[in-house]
């Protein structure tokens, strides 16, 4: 990812926008390739694609240090990549190969990586709320200045443990950022059918400072997160970010016919009007930070990286069967 900006002497804000764009694009193309691998029966199991929600992960992670922590979800590829995971080891994990981040033992829903502070994706909805809060607890106790960002979908608001740990984080002023990705659906059920009251008020009720943001605008996500991270890092306690977004594809790769739970028009509207990549492209070009040539080059460079990564992963060996009994105990 080395493309130079369209003009030298860009501002910090502009350089960041270019970075955010490239990261979002990498996630988008990664996920499209995942879908392709699944469709061609080259990938075992299922995957939950992050397409449409890229601005949230990249905006949040842009505001984090490399050694800050994140926890992720079943829809985790975007979070992992945004936090710095390499494409090849990501694909290798998704294919169950030894070269993957978890030696193939974790798969799509369990990618973890200590090197980038990734405590792990999690297949239990809200399953990592405790872990992220515990990481923030360590950071505070050890005084290492780190924060923990806990990603979860709005569906996780149904799980009581989220409130338990928010409460403790507030009582103990732990540096944790709860990032709620409101993509409107808990699987195949609209959040309005499952969620009473107001999530922002909920957070406040537990003493957690809350903000909301347009989750399709990576720059906006970055700005508000940067502010919230500072709040947490300063020791002022946990924060809650309500990011409004949308998943463009199915709940998972096999969720093709979606008309029974959401209208085609709704999908089309989001894809045409609210695509985070389009929104960023518009900003980059309007502000003359990037032009078509730069954008094309970025696309083909990332595409090539992804292709290499996929080839690496496809060629990589599976773990030897006897590895199955390793790593049960440390």
């Amino acid at each position: 990812m080395t493309t130079a900006p369209v003009q030298p002497g860009v501002s910090e804000d502009q350089a960041r926008a270019l970075r955010l764009y490239r990261k979002m694009l990498a996630i988008r193309l990664f996920e499209e390739r995942v879908n392709d691998l699944y469709t061609r029966a080259l990938m075992p199991g299922l995957a939950h694609l992050y397409i449409g929600e890229e601005a949230v992960a990249v905006g949040v992670c842009e505001a984090l240090h490399r050694d800050d922590y994140i926890t992720s979800t079943h829809r985790g590829h975007g979070h992992c990549l945004a936090k710095g995971a390499a494409l090849d080891r990501m694909f290798a994990e998704l294919l169950g190969k030894e070269a993957g981040y978890c030696k193939g033992k974790g798969g799509s829903m369990h990618i973890a990586d200590p090197d980038t502070g990734n405590l792990g994706a999690n297949a239990i909805v809200a399953g990592s709320a405790g872990i992220a809060t515990g990481a923030a607890f360590s950071a505070k106790r050890l005084g290492n200045g780190r924060v923990a960002a806990c990603f979860f979908g709005e569906g996780a608001l149904g799980q009581g443990v989220v409130y338990e740990v928010m409460n403790m984080a507030a009582v103990w002023k732990l540096p944790v950022i709860y990032v709620c990705e409101n993509n409107l659906y808990n699987e195949y059920t609209h959040m309005s059918e499952t969620t009473a009251g107001d999530p922002m008020v909920r957070a406040a009720g537990f003493g957690v400072h809350a903000e909301s943001v347009d989750g399709q605008d990576a720059r906006a996500v970055y700005s508000v997160t940067a502010k919230l991270v500072e709040h947490a890092r300063r020791g002022e306690g946990p924060v809650f970010l309500w990011a409004n977004t949308y998943r463009f594809a199915g709940h998972h790769v096999g969720d093709i016919s979606r008309e029974y739970y959401r209208a085609k028009q709704e999908e089309t509207l989001w894809k045409t009007e609210r695509d985070p990549l389009k929104i960023m492209t518009a900003w980059l070009t309007a502000n003359r930070v990037a032009d078509a040539t730069w954008l094309d080059r970025a696309h083909s460079e990332i595409q090539a990286e992804i292709e290499n990564a996929v080839q690496f992963a496809l060629a990589a060996p599976y773990p030897a069967p006897e590895k199955v009994v390793e790593d049960v105990y440390a």
Binding site: P44, G104, G106, H110, N122, A123, G158, G160, T194, V328
Partner: protein, 334 residues
């Protein structure tokens, strides 16, 4: 009169489950379904498709992702005049509801001196090899079996699934009903006529002389497959399916063990401290003096279930591994 060949109707296990639910909901207006994505989506496994259309959203309720909460609501609803069927998508989520099931549902009747009842069914799933990794592949029924006050049902065929589920719904106690995810598409005969299968009766799924394979849920199919392989080596295997792990039909298990004198127990839960250990204990206690060899217990490997296909496949009993263990148990070389 000319003879008419009546074709036996075949249903998948998923269809049999749905039919049982639909029939009981028609029969008894108190029965309702509650869980995540059970209505329009008909569950992740599409088992309940169509029920909300027939019974309406008041009786097929989509919930928030709140397993402890809606299981608890199920307990309360069961105590006060309804008969909930609570849907827990993956059996792995048992960890979230054990307090509601073990401390509330299981104990209400006893703690109240028999004055309150909890006629509720908890439907959930078990089974690996779907490449769903460690948190979506477990078979945790042993946890529920351990708790007095609960009943636990593990059907192995569409016929059994329908008959046992109907009994479970009519039972006045909390019943945990396990469906193997890999068996939803398994077909088998299911008569059109009404029938139920009482809880607590094992079934000999295949008669045999040389050894007994006691198997649960999907492992019954594995055992039947292994029995076929054994046949080629002139080993005659009896396959016994307890069908309900509690109440447990000890007699049928012990009788078969006495007859064949060699016993294997196959269950897809983690092997150690799993359901197979209880079956083994019961059999060795009841048939000890007729046994030629120790009971051979096989379960899933004592490891979290890995994602990688070659690893995952190594963790569960298969026809081949059961066949080999059976040959060894019978002192036969390959």
């Amino acid at each position: 009169m000319p003879e008419v060949a009546v074709a036996v109707r075949e249903l998948t296990l998923g269809e049999a489950v749905k039919e049982a639910l639909a029939e009981e909901m028609r029969r008894d207006p108190r029965v309702f379904i509650i869980g995540e994505d059970v209505a329009e989506a008909g569950t992740t496994f599409k088992v309940l498709t169509g029920l909300v259309q027939e019974f309406g959203p008041e009786r097929v309720l989509d919930t928030p992702i709140s397993e402890p909460g809606f299981t608890g609501i199920g307990v309360g609803a069961a105590m006060t005049g309804l008969r909930p069927v609570v849907d827990i998508m993956f059996g792995d989520f048992a960890g979230l509801i054990m307090d509601q099931m073990a401390n509330q549902a299981a104990k209400v009747h006893y703690m109240s001196g028999g004055r309150w009842k909890v006629p509720m069914v908890l439907r959930t799933t078990l089974g690996a090899t779907r490449r769903s990794a460690a948190q979506h592949s477990q078979s945790l029924h042993a946890w529920f079996c351990h708790i007095p006050g609960l009943k636990v049902v593990l059907p192995s065929t569409p016929y059994d699934a329908k008959g046992l589920l109907k009994s479970a719904i009519r039972d006045d106690n909390p019943v945990v009903f396990y469906e193997d995810k890999m068996m939803y598409k398994l077909k088998g005969p299911v008569p059109e006529e009404e029938y139920t299968i009482p809880l607590g009766i094992a079934e000999v799924k295949r008669m045999g002389e040389d050894l007994t394979i006691v198997a649960t849920s999907s492992m019954v199919q594995v055992a039947l497959g292994a029995a076929k392989l054994l046949e080629e080596y002139d080993v005659s295997a009896e396959v016994v399916d307890p069908r309900t792990l509690w109440p447990l039909d000890e007699e049928t298990l012990i009788e078969s063990a006495r007859k064949t004198s060699r016993v294997m127990v196959i269950d897809e839960g983690y092997e150690r401290y799993g359901a197979g250990a209880e079956l083994t204990t019961v059999i060795q206690a009841g048939a000890f003096y007729d046994l030629e060899a120790p009971v051979k217990r096989i379960g899933a490997m004592h490891v979290p279930i890995p994602f990688s296909p070659p690893l995952e496949d190594a963790t569960v009993p298969t026809e081949a591994s059961v066949f080999q263990a059976a040959m060894a148990l019978c002192g036969r070389k390959l």
